[in-house]
C-alpha cells in the first residue's frame, strides 16, 4: 500500500500489521502461550486492565475510577495505558494484562487465525465512531479517487467504510496502486495522525473511534460525513476480551469482573458529563490526555448537535435513536454472525484464508461466552436497565 505520508508510525502501521500477523501465527504464538502458562500459576492475580486512551476504554476505566472492582471484592492494579493495538494484544497474550478492550474484528482474528485461548465476555460500547472528511466532500461518492485512512484492517471501521463504499459503487484500489475514479485507496494510520493528515490534505477522510472525529470538528479541519452507528444500528466497536484460563479456572472472579464492568456502563449512562470529566486529563488519575470539552462532545453531546447531524446527513436514521456513543454489555449473537459475514466481503491485508472457511454462527458461539454478562445484566434488572427490549436476540440493521 502506498502511503502519501512518511508513515513512520509504530502504532497502526503496516509493520504493526505484519508484527501482529507473525505474533498470531501458529508458531510465533507458542512462546507467548508458554509465558501465559507460567503467569497462570499466579492463581490469585489481581485485575490488570490494558487500554488505549480512546473513548472505547470508557467502561473499564469507569469501573476502575469509581472503585467498582473493589466493591465486588476484587484487587485491581492501576490500568496500563498502551499506544497501539499491537502492544495491547502482545501484553494480553503474554499474560501481563488480563482484561482488555479490543476491536471486535481483532478478537475474531485472534481466536480463529491465531488460536488465542481467550473469549469475548461482553460488549464495551456501541457506536462511538465516525467517518470524518474534508470540507469539500459532501457524500460518500465524493471519496472516489481519494485516500481514506483506517485504524486497522481488522476494525469495525474498515468493515463499515467498505460497506459504505460498495453501496456507493466504489471499489478499493489495489495495494500500491493509485486509486481510479471509482476507487478509494485505504491507508493505515494512527488516530492521532489522522487529524493533521486531513488538515494537510494528504487524505480526504478517515474513519476512526472517538474522540478523533470530535477533534477534527473542534479544530475545524473536517466534518463528520456519517456515524458508524448510523450505518450499523447499535454495533459493537470494542469488546471485552479475557483469557479462557480465567473464565474456566476462576469463574467467580471472572463473574465479578464482568459485574463491575456492567455496573460501570449503567453509571456511565446516567452520568455522561461526569464520565467525560473522569476520563479527561483534568482528573488526577490522568486516564486519557484529552480535554473534558472534547470528551463531552462525544459522551454528553448537546441535543442541538443531533439535529444538526440529521440536517447535514451524518445521521440518516434518526428513528434509530442512536447515541453518538452508547453503553450496553450484552453481546448479541446475531452481531457476531453478521460481523463475520461482513468481514468475508471486506478487503484486509495479510493471511485472510481463515475467513473463507469460518462459519458465522459457529463463530458467534465459539468466540463469545455470554454466561457471565447475562447473570450480571439480570442482577441489575435485565436489558431494560439499558433501554433495550427484554430479549436476548435482535435483528441486525445494516443500511448504508
Amino acid at each position: 500500500m502506498t502511503s502519501p505520508l512518511p508513515n513512520e508510525d509504530f502504532l497502526f502501521s503496516r509493520r504493526d500489521m505484519l508484527r501482529l500477523s507473525a505474533l498470531l501465527g501458529a508458531g510465533a504464538a507458542l512462546p507467548f502461550a508458554g509465558a501465559r502458562a507460567a503467569r497462570a500459576q499466579e492463581a490469585d492475580a489481581p485485575v490488570r486492565i490494558g487500554y488505549l486512551p480512546i473513548t472505547d476504554a470508557t467502561p473499564l476505566l469507569v469501573a476502575h475510577g469509581r472503585g467498582l472492582f473493589e466493591a465486588e471484592g476484587l484487587r485491581v492494579e492501576p490500568p496500563v495505558r498502551f499506544r497501539g493495538w499491537s502492544q495491547i494484544v502482545e501484553a494480553f497474550l503474554a499474560g501481563q494484562v488480563n482484561v482488555v478492550h479490543l476491536l471486535s474484528p481483532i478478537t475474531v482474528w485472534a481466536r480463529f487465525n491465531g488460536g488465542t485461548p481467550a473469549k469475548v465476555v461482553a460488549w464495551n460500547h456501541t457506536g462511538g465512531s465516525g467517518l470524518t472528511v474534508a470540507g469539500d466532500i459532501d457524500d460518500v461518492a465524493g471519496l472516489g479517487g481519494r485516500v481514506v485512512a483506517i485504524p486497522h484492517w481488522y476494525s469495525i471501521h474498515n468493515v463499515v467504510l467498505q460497506k459504505l463504499l460498495r453501496e456507493n459503487g466504489l471499489g478499493i484500489a489495489a495495494p500500491g496502486a493509485a486509486p481510479g475514479a471509482d476507487e478509494v485507496a485505504l491507508v493505515l494510520m494512527a488516530p492521532a495522525d489522522m487529524v493533521p493528515a486531513l488538515a494537510a490534505g494528504q487524505i480526504a477522510g478517515y474513519i476512526v473511534a472517538e474522540p478523533f472525529n470530535a477533534a477534527a470538528e473542534v479544530h475545524g479541519v473536517g466534518k463528520v460525513l456519517r456515524f458508524t452507528g448510523d450505518v450499523w444500528k447499535d454495533h459493537a466497536c470494542c469488546t471485552v476480551f479475557m483469557h479462557e484460563d480465567d473464565l474456566t479456572g476462576r469463574p467467580e472472579w471472572s463473574q465479578k469482573v464482568v459485574n463491575a464492568m456492567v455496573r460501570a456502563q449503567l453509571w456511565t449512562r446516567d452520568n455522561r458529563a461526569g464520565t467525560a470529566r473522569l476520563l479527561s486529563a483534568e482528573d488526577p488519575r490522568q486516564y486519557t490526555p484529552h480535554s473534558p470539552e472534547i470528551l463531552a462532545r462525544v459522551l454528553d453531546p448537546a441535543p442541538a448537535d443531533h439535529d444538526a447531524y440529521v440536517a447535514s446527513g451524518a445521521i440518516r436514521h434518526p428513528e434509530w435513536l442512536s447515541q453518538r456513543i452508547d453503553f450496553q454489555p450484552y453481546p448479541f449473537p446475531s452481531y457476531t454472525g453478521e460481523l463475520v459475514r461482513q468481514l468475508k466481503e471486506t478487503r484486509v491485508e495479510g493471511d485472510r484464508a481463515f475467513l473463507d472457511t469460518l462459519d458465522p454462527e459457529f463463530a458467534a458461539g465459539d468466540l463469545v461466552d455470554d454466561s457471565f454478562v447475562r447473570r450480571a445484566v439480570e442482577a441489575v434488572g435485565g436489558l431494560a436497565a439499558f433501554g433495550l427490549p427484554d430479549a436476548w436476540t435482535r435483528e441486525e440493521l445494516v443500511q448504508a
Binding site: 509465558a35 490494558g50 496500563v80 495505558r81 499506544r83 502492544q87 501481563q96 486519557t288
Partner: protein, 274 residues
Amino acid sequence: MSAVDSPAGRFRPGWRPALARPGGRQLAHAGLGLAGLGLLLLLWWAGTDLLAAEGSFARRFSPERALPALAGLAAGPGLWLHIMASLRRVLVGLGFALAIGVPLGLLVGVSRRAAALTTPAFQFLRMVSPLSWMPVAVLVFGVGDMPIYFLLAAVAVWPVMLNTSAGVQQLNPHWLQLSQSLAATRSETLLHVVLPGVLGQVLTGLRLAIGISWVVLVPCEMLGVQAGLGYFILDTRDRLAYEELAAVILVIGVIGYALDSAARLAIRRFAAGE
C-alpha cells in the same frame, strides 16, 4: 558509527573539543556554535511561520507558541516528573550496557578466538533495531520499566562493547610487554594496564550509547508506562497539542546535549593521560 571503524580510533581529532584549545579560539568557536543555534531557530521560525500556510497545523509548532508552552510546562510539576522518569531509564539502561559491554569487550579484545566466534553474531545483532524486540521485551519483562531498561540496554551495549574491544586491540604492545617483563599477574595487567588504557575508548563508546539511547527513548516509552518524555510526546499527539510537542522536543534536545557534554568532559578528563 564509532571509532572502531577508523584506524585512528580514539585519536580522531574531532574528539578533542574546542574546550581543549587556547582561550581565544575557544571563545570564537563558542560564538560560532551560538550562531549555528540562532540559525536553527531562524529556520524553525521560517518553516512554521513563513512557509507554512495560514491556519495549517505546522503553524502550531512555531517557536512563538512553543517557547511560551515550554515556560508553562516548566512551571508545573508534570514536566519534571517526566524528565526524571526518562533520565532514570536512560541511566539504568546505560548501567546495564556498561556492566555487560565492558567485560564482553575486554574478552573479545583480548582473545582472537572469542573475537572470531562473536564478531559476525554481534555485528548482526547490533544492526537490529531494538524496537523489533518490543514483543520479546513485553513477553519476558512484562510491562512498565523493565522492558524499557532491556530495550535501552540492548541498544547501548554495542557501542560500549565494540569500542572497548577496539581499545584493547589498539593498546600499545610495549605496555603489555613491559608488564610481562615486570612479571605482573594477569589481574594486575588488567587493572593497571588494560583498563586505564581502554578507558578513553570506553567513554567514547558510552558517549555514542548515550546518544542512541536518548534517540530510541520516545518509542520505547509506548510500552505501558505512566510517565516519561516519550510518553508525554505521545500524549501531546493525541491531544493535537503541537506547541507542547515542540516544547518537549526542545527539552529532549537540551538534555541530550547536556548528557553528551558531560560525556565529552569525562573523555577529556579521564582519557587525557594516554
